[in-house]
């Protein structure tokens, strides 16, 4: 039997992880991406390897996904992670009120935390706001976004996956009106068009998922929700610093290389391809970061950027759940050969891929188990050295 051919659109976290999973399950995989690896939202994340603490009160499904995947990623791809942990810090009375729910939530989601006195917290992170009231340790980490994606891509490539970077999907190839059979691509490096045929087309274009489904006359309930991120040119902590409060603007400041990065906000966007930077939000981010680490107030800014979350379904902004969803368009629109995977977080990329690959295997009647939980990834650098 020849291998089934899967076409994956988008080389963000979701796309590369799905490529890795399907390649391990014996698929012939082709990834199509209009830019470089991590061209979209994935490249521009905060870089927080979530412990789940941020969601432990309101969105426990996401929180449990996060802590499980956090522990797996630390094992399979340690070369792109700063595994130094994190703190949740209370600065006000209302933060203290939240502490009770937070402790209960973390316990329910089996996220290990430890309560610290202000003295002890300041010993660990002396540049914290000295007025802090209480703090909790939590197993957060920081990852390098591009290298995380490239590690998955490299491993997929080693297992036979093909990557067409700088190739944009212009339309979907259809057999009549009911089956998607491939995609028409524009090779942007030469301006030539190519037709690619496959047994299954997987739409992993995150916030852009609606543009691809529209090509087949279908839709998905994706709500692109951008946020801002500000990078400071000094590192003043070794751990991810979270404000102990319900998810809010600028509630996380984390170290990366020799920087601190604060984020984020949550609003609606018109044109996803270019999201302008809003000046007021920069000021807000600096203020919020300086609440937690006052020294940052006088540090120069190094980078400012926007990225768009692919959030699923009803509600607005922060109240939307952060979990992911795999849509089989046979079920939603009676369209065969076509699935969409979106939502979720960087931290849950492997789990999203597992779910998608399960769906695809079931559709094609293939019996192959997921092996990505235990398989260490190869060096991201090999994405370039493998041919």
């Amino acid at each position: 039997m020849t291998k089934p051919h899967a076409i994956i659109i988008g080389a963000g976290f979701t796309g590369v992880a799905t490529a890795h999973d399907l390649a391990m399950r014996g698929f012939d995989v082709t990834v199509v991406e209009r830019g470089p690896i991590a061209n979209g939202t994935s490249g521009r994340t905060h870089g927080l390897l979530h412990s789940g603490g941020r969601y432990a009160v309101k969105d426990q499904e996401s929180a449990i996904e996060c802590i499980d995947e956090n522990l797996i990623l630390r094992k399979i791809v340690p070369s792109v992670i700063e595994p130094n942990g994190g703190l949740f810090v209370a600065l006000s009375e209302s933060d203290l009120d939240y502490a009770e729910e937070f402790i209960a939530g973390c316990e329910a989601c089996h996220i290990p935390i430890e309560q610290l006195t202000p003295q002890r917290a300041l010993k660990l992170e002396p540049n914290l706001n000295p007025k802090l009231l209480v703090a909790f340790t939590i197993p957060d980490g920081t990852f390098d976004p591009l290298r995380l994606a490239m590690s998955f891509a490299a491993t997929a490539k080693k297992n036979g996956a093909n990557f067409h970077l700088y190739h944009e999907v212009k339309s979907l190839l259809m057999d009549g009106k009911a089956t998607v059979t491939g995609a028409r691509l524009l090779d942007r490096t030469s301006n030539k068009e190519i037709d690619l045929h496959g047994d299954i087309v997987i739409n992993a274009t995150g916030a852009w998922a609606g543009e691809i489904t529209a090509m087949a006359g279908a839709d998905v309930p994706i709500k692109p929700t951008p946020g801002i991120m500000v990078a400071f040119e000094r590192r003043t902590a070794q751990r991810a610093i979270n404000r102990l409060c319900a998810p809010a603007d600028g509630d996380i400041v984390l170290p990366q290389r020799r920087m601190m990065v604060v984020g984020t906000t949550s609003f609606a966007a018109d044109n996803l391809d270019y999201i302008p930077i809003v000046e007021d939000q920069i000021k807000l981010m600096v203020e919020r970061a300086a609440d937690l680490l006052p020294g940052l107030r006088s540090v120069k800014l190094r980078g400012i950027y926007m990225a768009s979350r692919p959030l699923i379904g009803g509600g607005t902004g922060r109240s939307i759940a952060r979990t992911f969803k795999c849509f089989d368009h046979k079920e939603t629109h009676n369209l065969d050969g076509f699935v969409t995977i979106t939502g979720g977080k960087a931290t849950t990329l492997r789990a999203m891929a597992e779910k998608t690959a399960d769906t695809v295997c079931a559709k094609l009647g293939i019996n192959a188990a997921c092996q990505t939980k235990e398989t260490p990834l190869i060096s991201y650098r090999q994405f370039y050295s493998l041919n």
């Binding site: 830019g35 470089p36 690896i37 991590a38 061209n39 490249g43 521009r44 870089g47 340690p78 070369s79 792109v80 992670i81 700063e82 595994p83 130094n84 942990g85 010993k123 660990l124 992170e125 002396p126 540049n127 340790t137 920081t142 390098d144 976004p145 591009l146 290298r147 994606a149 700088y166 942007r188 490096t189 030469s190 301006n191 991120m229 990078a231 590192r235 003043t236 902590a237 070794q238 170290p255 990366q256 290389r257 020799r258 920087m259 044109n271 391809d273 270019y274 930077i277 020294g295 190094r302 980078g303 400012i304 950027y305 060096s379 991201y380 650098r381 090999q382 994405f383 370039y384 050295s385």
Partner: protein
């Protein structure tokens, strides 16, 4: 109030199998935005055929290296104000010394291969004190625990593009790679010693120090190459009086 400038951006354009040419686009800009924002906007709103690379937009991934007014820069941390005046022209072109894939994107595969060759560690214990002296250093949770940190070199290739020696001698390992060897530590690896103590290694450097001038990420490759030379000379003096046993060399 946000300032508004009007500038001309001159893009280097090249598709595979075609001759390169320059394309000028007039753009309204905010002098405080970074060059990558202009490039992305040019693609989103002016010309969809423009090919460029980027990911993190805050100098941690190394994908957005290009030449801005001929000089090697990370486009994501280069404010427009620092490279052009209102009404002026800004030129963006791909890095030198690497094959162009299209427009602003080059193939840096060789750099990545060589970084693996010398065993550069992408995550390392924080030996070089990321928290600078103006702030207080953090305390580890466990007494003997080291903080791990993503290493300074982001493999952006700016130094390889700016190095005049690498321009003429593609076999020269190059500044990022030698700096990578320095970070990996010669002490642990006699083979690494051989690799860098050679005509394509530290002795090929001719002290142009362009690498250090363009490095956006605190690596200072020029200094590291000189440190490696010191170590090599030190080792030669040592082995002169106390020759290595053949078994050690073969390892």
């Amino acid at each position: 109030m946000v300032e508004k400038w009007n500038i001309t951006v001159k893009f280097y354009r090249q598709k595979q199998g075609e001759k390169p040419h320059d394309q000028e686009i007039k753009m309204d800009v905010n002098p405080d935005e970074n060059v990558i924002d202009l490039v992305e906007r040019a693609w989103a709103l002016h010309d969809r055929t423009l090919v460029f690379a980027h990911a993190c937009h805050h100098s941690t991934c190394g994908a957005c290296g290009m030449r801005v007014n001929e000089r090697e820069k990370l486009a994501c941390i280069t404010p427009v104000r620092s490279v052009v005046a209102n009404g002026g022209t800004l030129k963006v072109a791909p890095l030198r010394n690497f094959p162009v894939i299209s427009d602003l994107v080059v193939d840096m595969g060789e750099l990545y291969r060589r970084m693996d060759l010398v065993g550069h560690q992408p995550v390392d214990s924080d030996r070089e004190e990321a928290i600078q002296p103006e702030f207080r250093p953090a305390g580890p949770a466990e007494p003997n625990e080291d903080f791990m940190r993503l290493s300074d070199c982001i493999e952006c290739g700016l130094c390889m593009s700016a190095c005049p020696v690498f321009s003429s001698t593609p076999d020269y390992l190059g500044p990022a790679v030698l700096a990578g060897a320095h970070q990996a530590g010669l002490e642990k690896n006699p083979l690494l010693f051989k690799l860098i103590d050679s005509a394509t290694g530290v002795w090929r450097c001719h002290s142009a120090f362009e690498c250090t001038a363009v490095c956006p990420s605190n690596v200072d490759p020029g200094w590291r190459i000189m440190e490696l030379r010191r170590k090599v000379i030190g080792d030669r003096v040592k082995t002169l009086f106390n020759p290595r046993k053949p078994a050690e060399v073969g390892k």
